[in-house]
């Protein structure tokens, strides 16, 4: 699915990531853990090419991302669903329209998918907030809407950055269940989180591997957590 080969990244002078050699196979389920400021978000942004590695190569489905033109990158992003840490919404359109945004920009018919949208909203308990605007949502509601938007195109790879930071444990488990379900359907999932309870809860349901980010590089974590 995604492959890092000697990839490194620095913001200006400060190295954030280096010597990344890593492969996410299709259908895998990964957690990415590490202290605040370690580079989890940076790593995810490398995966969907919001950032380009300062050296080395990132490949998506075997193709080097850096060599592709801008339209190809747009297409790549339709195959990747991202839950951003600071949920990115358009504040002037409704929550429902925001969630359907990936459909709209891909030129798909939003009306035809209304049923999918409704059942997804049900799952994240947002059906009564669908006509609100993003600034009218509570922090947790925003995060759930972001999850819904990430999966609406049923992408092959789902990247979730701290998707449960602002929500209570019951809702966190619901979202985890959703992601596990998608993984069972063959999608790859990568969750960056600092919540070890979530990692433990997932391990009982799916064969999840844990990556630890430390000192600018990413290593599989020891089995025990």
């Amino acid at each position: 699915m995604i492959e890092f080969e000697d990839a490194a990244f620095r913001y200006g002078e400060t190295d954030v990531l280096s010597r990344l050699n890593l492969r996410l196979t299709p259908g895998s389920f990964h957690f990415l853990i590490g202290p605040s400021g370690a580079g989890k978000t940076t790593f995810l942004r490398l995966c969907y090419k919001e950032l380009a590695p300062t050296s080395g190569v990132v490949r998506f489905r075997g193709k080097t991302i850096g060599d592709q033109d801008r339209d190809a990158v747009a297409d790549l992003r339709r195959a990747v669903g991202v839950v951003h840490q600071d949920c990115q919404f358009l504040d002037h359109i409704t929550v429902g329209e925001n969630i359907a945004l990936p459909l709209q920009v891909s030129g798909l018919n939003v009306q035809e998918r209304a049923d999918d949208l409704a059942s997804l909203l049900d799952w994240v308990s947002l059906n009564d907030r669908v006509d609100a605007y993003p600034p009218q949502l509570s922090g947790g509601e925003r995060q759930r809407a972001a999850v819904a938007r990430a999966v609406i195109l049923s992408p092959d790879l789902i990247l979730a950055d701290e998707p449960t930071g602002n929500i209570d444990w019951d809702m966190a488990l619901r979202i985890l269940t959703l992601l596990v379900e998608l993984n069972r359907m063959g999608k790859s999932v990568l969750i960056a989180t600092h919540d070890l309870n979530l990692v433990r809860a997932a391990k009982s349901r799916v064969q999840a591997r844990v990556l630890r980010i430390a000192d600018g590089t990413i290593q599989p974590a020891a089995a025990d957590l």
Binding site: V82, D91, L101, S106
Partner: protein
């Protein structure tokens, strides 16, 4: 311009993704309106000046005056001889006797009341309409000297030169102003487009992230921007035309200086202002959005 139909219909949905944001919107309309307003005024001025130059240059260049001096019978003889000469001169198109009344009216400002003119021994005046391309003034003068020595031909060249120069420079000045306004409009719309794009960096980022292609984003911005430029400039142009409409026209007495109302087909020229603004807006948005996009992943 192939994409024009799509601009007006297909991408309303995409355009909704760019916030209507009072800031960029109002100023684009405003700027377009103001520039269009002045563009129409200056355009009218240019057209009027052009007309003026044509009038002055044209009618004066196409005419001359023949003065025949002398007393009693002599004048008649001389005039007849002079008219004979004119009739056989290539380039002379028509001749007209200027009556005594008209002659007096011309002289009055310089000589005072009618009574004063009465006593003057006025020359006989003949207005000559010519084709300046074919008329050879020197040969005409030579022939007149021979056949009607008391007749003097004046081709107005002195007076004409300065009037025509004024009107032509006025016209050049007005077109210069017009060019200035168009350049300023392009600059202003370019900046406004950049500003709108800068104010919506987050929107662009979000659209890119969910997989929108560059062209889709450009169209999303373009529609509203072009609409606003069109609307604003149409309003400004209408306002300008209205102002010209209520201005005293060239034909009214005492207004030769500000009779800038367009005449005939000239009314159509200001109607071009909004489409030009629209095309500028179209280009400016495309340029600004693409400029921002290449700096963004």
């Amino acid at each position: 311009m192939v994409r024009l139909p799509r601009l007006f219909a297909g991408d309303a949905a995409a355009a909704r993704l760019v916030p209507p944001g009072a800031h960029s919107g109002l100023t684009v309309s405003m700027l377009s309106a103001i520039m269009a307003f002045f563009a129409v005024l200056v355009l009218a001025l240019a057209l009027a000046a052009g007309r003026l130059a044509d009038d002055w240059g044209g009618s004066l260049a196409n005419s001359g005056t023949l003065q025949v001096f002398g007393v009693g019978e002599d004048v008649e003889i001389q005039a007849r001889a002079a008219l004979n000469v004119l009739r056989t001169t290539p380039g002379v198109q028509s001749v007209r006797m200027i009556g005594v009344e008209e002659q007096r009216a011309l002289l009055e400002p310089w000589l005072g009341s009618e009574a004063a003119v009465d006593g003057l021994p006025l020359p006989l005046l003949i207005e000559v309409v010519t084709d300046p391309m074919r008329l050879n003034v020197d040969s005409l003068r030579l022939r007149l000297e021979g056949e009607a020595p008391e007749a003097v031909y004046d081709d107005h060249s002195g007076l004409r030169a300065s009037l025509v120069l004024t009107a032509q420079r006025l016209k050049v000045f007005a077109y210069l102003c017009l060019a200035l306004i168009v350049i300023a409009l392009a600059a202003v719309l370019g900046l406004a487009a950049q500003a709108a794009v800068a104010a919506n960096t987050q929107v662009i980022r979000t659209l890119r992230i969910v997989g929108a292609r560059d062209r889709y984003i450009v169209n999303a911005f373009r529609r509203r921007f072009v609409m606003r430029a069109l609307g604003g400039s149409a309003l400004g142009a209408a306002f300008g035309l209205g102002l010209i409409g209520v201005l005293p026209q060239a034909s009214e007495p005492g207004f030769f200086l500000i009779g800038i109302g367009p005449v005939g087909w000239n009314w159509a020229a200001p109607i071009l202002v909004p489409p030009v603004a629209g095309i500028i807006a179209w280009t400016a948005t495309g340029w600004a959005v693409r400029r921002r996009l290449v700096r963004q992943a």
